[in-house]
Symmetry: D2
Subunit: 226 residues, 4 copies
Amino acid sequence: MPESQQAAFGDPVPVLDKGAIQLLNMMGSDQEIIAAARVSTGTRAGADLQRDRDLIFFLAEHRHGTPFEHVVFQFYVRCPIFVARQWMRHRIASYNEASARYRVLKDEFYVPDRSALPDFITDEDIAEYQRVLEHAHQFYLRMIEKAKPHPQQRSRVREVFRGVIGTAIYTEFYWSVNLRSLWNFLELRTAPGAQYEIRQYAQALDNMVQQVVPIAYEALKRFGRA
Amino acid sequence: MPESQQAAFGDPVPVLDKGAIQLLNMMGSDQEIIAAARVSTGTRAGADLQRDRDLIFFLAEHRHGTPFEHVVFQFYVRCPIFVARQWMRHRIASYNEASARYRVLKDEFYVPDRSALPDFITDEDIAEYQRVLEHAHQFYLRMIEKAKPHPQQRSRVREVFRGVIGTAIYTEFYWSVNLRSLWNFLELRTAPGAQYEIRQYAQALDNMVQQVVPIAYEALKRFGRA
Amino acid sequence: MPESQQAAFGDPVPVLDKGAIQLLNMMGSDQEIIAAARVSTGTRAGADLQRDRDLIFFLAEHRHGTPFEHVVFQFYVRCPIFVARQWMRHRIASYNEASARYRVLKDEFYVPDRSALPDFITDEDIAEYQRVLEHAHQFYLRMIEKAKPHPQQRSRVREVFRGVIGTAIYTEFYWSVNLRSLWNFLELRTAPGAQYEIRQYAQALDNMVQQVVPIAYEALKRFGRA
Amino acid sequence: MPESQQAAFGDPVPVLDKGAIQLLNMMGSDQEIIAAARVSTGTRAGADLQRDRDLIFFLAEHRHGTPFEHVVFQFYVRCPIFVARQWMRHRIASYNEASARYRVLKDEFYVPDRSALPDFITDEDIAEYQRVLEHAHQFYLRMIEKAKPHPQQRSRVREVFRGVIGTAIYTEFYWSVNLRSLWNFLELRTAPGAQYEIRQYAQALDNMVQQVVPIAYEALKRFGRA
């Protein structure tokens, strides 16, 4: 693995107040994009870096998107449910998410930073936001507690009473996605119209992609899509 | 449209306490499945009903799934967010869901029927469940109210403070899906391991499918998958 | 069905020398795109045509592609195998193609028109092209004939000896595809870089789409993609 | 990478008379399937091998297919066009194939072994099969030659006159696919009803999968699908 790629692995990158994103695993690189494109034309990926680079730019410009699909990433993501809801609308990808049918939810809620809120929202408003979330979570825990003597019913109690808990609660999931589909995610979720919270994740992803496939990143940025 | 199909259209079918599912639109029928299969073999769909029926059973038995994809449905669905979260993990389909970034959420929450809950859950527990949900919704409405004088910020306030609202709140979406993908949904979501609430929707769907493509339904039931 | 839509159904549209494309079936219309978009914002599709039209243009401009997926088409296509090979690389769609494992192939070959060939290609070259294709087909038929007394082996002989037949032979298939995926096909296959033969099909499709979803067509043309 | 995995990489595995399949790249392993499943339940993949193994068997038995999607493979495939045509009907995968629009096709044809043919097919039949293919290829080369002085038209001549060449000609492509989609390929293409030629590729793939994800392989074999 090139040094530039190694930098992108390792510790999770923090996002929002308690979230994270981490590149766990990866298949392919700029070189594999070139190799996949070359199979079409029958010429070999040369030692000539300029020409390889040109080829990736050519692919992006002329919408030959399939070579970018041979680069695949696996990420670990920790984000609020309302962010995960937007995320999972991206269908060309694989997801495994923490299930509130099997796990008891912890009281880990997204609390927006003052800078991410309009001026007229006061500290007291934010404190009340937290109390409302915690109040619901405490009721949920009481129901979980009440089910303790009934092992057969615990799962049912978990799956029904999680319904009171706000979508500001953090969830976590594994996400496998190829570079082409990921690029579509970045285009839509780094755009100004995207919600602030998911934009923070998209920006962190954008930085990671730049590190691990620098030429493809530059080409896709210039032409806007794969 | 055959009479049997017409019966499946029309008014929404109620599901759970405030939910619904409605078949809005449809392309194809048992006949189109047969025609698609016949293009492979070059023989025409005969007047001989028995042989057409046999062909659909043959397709299901031998896992020739593609002819079932030419039947496509569009549904309107109204369900709790926690149900929608499970639903939208089915990726071979199209979704358009009500957005809490653009719309103010109404206090319409799923309240489970006593029969859907363990015996040790009391009426007081259910009343408290409702109070917790309404309490969060009232706080949310206060924040919405507070944003009224700030038209530029209303959207931001909506999208952040919906985070306190539990996933028991009802959402609604349009769902377009082909029969093969729908069958996969039915297999997984009518199974005993599926959550009670989504099973009620899957059961209602199962009934609709039986009405509109009766032969395909019978064949897929017998062989278990498309 | 509006009158404009009816015109697009009916007889197959001829393409190339012996090919065709036919709209067999359809779900949705411009109105369904609007309805799907309105479910997000909660406002109803108005009687105000201008505003509905504006909404579709807004969707195309801001890359809200999912409402376009609720319009679904089923086509019958007759084209040379080399065109079908390019066509079926479009993965978000359903295909059922004539199988040379089950059917004996007829000697129906694409013969390019003079105007579709460089000047230095002579009539004799085209005649030779046809003779080469027919020669191979005759050998194929001799092998089919040889297998007649061996019912158990006919299928094996068909599937092996079709290997001599050129990809200029016509095949046929059913194709179901939603408007968003179809638009991607049109963008790529009407482009000047696409092969002449598939461009003729893409152009015929483009005309059909314009008739059946005129507002969506105009909006997607303006902004280039769904 | 475990030793067992290394064995599956390396030289291409020969298939048919001139074909091959080669595992070029891979993401994930049995361990990643377990980790993806554990994120749902919140328990860690233990040192206890038996329990990890049990978990994979549980996933396969209960149709929890998504954890298998986090294992992704990239293969190089060299096969006759008629095999590639069947292969590329598998849509949940990425393909980059040699293009006869950009490359001049070489006279490399699949010639079936006697053992793969019925007894009544003679050596002379096979010789004639080869002559027919070569005859078409020679005509194709003459047209390529004729286009030499016309650089602007070479591509057009290549793309039209390849139409005479039989689908027994070898092509090559890169194929990226996740384990779940690959398993569906194996189920359908190792089945007795699949054509002999693609079965040879499926069998070679089956062996590779067994080496690189041995536990998942065993579990999927037992329960039949992912």
